[in-house]
Point group: C2
Chain length 160, copies 2
Amino acid sequence: MKLSTKGRYAVTAMMDLAIHDREGPVTLSDISSCQGISLSYLEQLFAKLRQTGLVEGVRGPGGGYRLGKPSHQISVADIIMAVDENIDNTRCKGSKDCNKGEKCLTHHLWNDLSERLYDFLDGITLSEFIKNPEVRKISHRQDTTASRIANMFPPRSKAS
Amino acid sequence: MKLSTKGRYAVTAMMDLAIHDREGPVTLSDISSCQGISLSYLEQLFAKLRQTGLVEGVRGPGGGYRLGKPSHQISVADIIMAVDENIDNTRCKGSKDCNKGEKCLTHHLWNDLSERLYDFLDGITLSEFIKNPEVRKISHRQDTTASRIANMFPPRSKAS
DNA sequence: GTAATCTTGACTTATTTAGTGGGGATTATA
DNA sequence: TATAATCCCCACTAAATAAGTCAAGATTAC
């Protein structure tokens, strides 16, 4: 279990998808300009998200990405694990006692903790976020047309 | 809230201190050889842990580090925050709406999540780990002498 | 006073994150 | 059918961070 800006990007992008889920697919350009993440970097992240079935891509004009399963089946842990390619966090996987006994002991304790953390994040799904009242407001007022217009301005160059 | 190997090193090292707390100070050399973390890197981490009062250094022969407060007052979140110098994780701290409304919205949602995560890790203290039965065993059988002997072998060179 | 230890700081290297660029493939729409 | 919008994939670079090295000093038990 690891938690970095990479995971944060993925989670917030997925939140974005969840928020606009019923308005059809969301383009990466939208997310890029909207959240200030570079388009190509998003592409890399979404490649992983797609491989694990968390999103599905819709090609062609009017396409984009949408959630691969209902939002209540996508946990924060799922997203982070998908992009942060799980570091084999101790080297002594499980039963091998890697050096003395003691090294393995702290590894064991860490694994306990890591597992608890995973369970915690696995219990939080995207659906919880779209219940947020502020989300509802935005989700209603911001229709697809608006984002299309925003998209006419080149999103690749760095916004000052 | 960030979670990387750096934080993991700090947490497992602190676990080590907690385990051997009553046997007097633990040297960084011990932790280094025992857990396979480089001595100088540990020094950097412990400098931060000391600044935040999580550990206290004891100089001179027989010295080392010991916990700066009772283990039940040291949470995992404390340790991680001490070494992982909190990334200002959104840039728009709090009330500023950083771009459109939407960017700030996902930031807000992320902050919610981050806060929940913090609270979770703040609820887990070192004292929980030393209650582990396996820890008790090790803690008893491994007396200070043993670690001193191990310490006679140069810990700086890379063990193959 | 000597050796074991902490303490500090400057430096190097490895790894990861983030971003760039370009060349496709697919498909809605004109 | 042509065009443009989009996903998709790959190889590369740049920046940031993690991890480790080296060296010099401070403090204290013995």
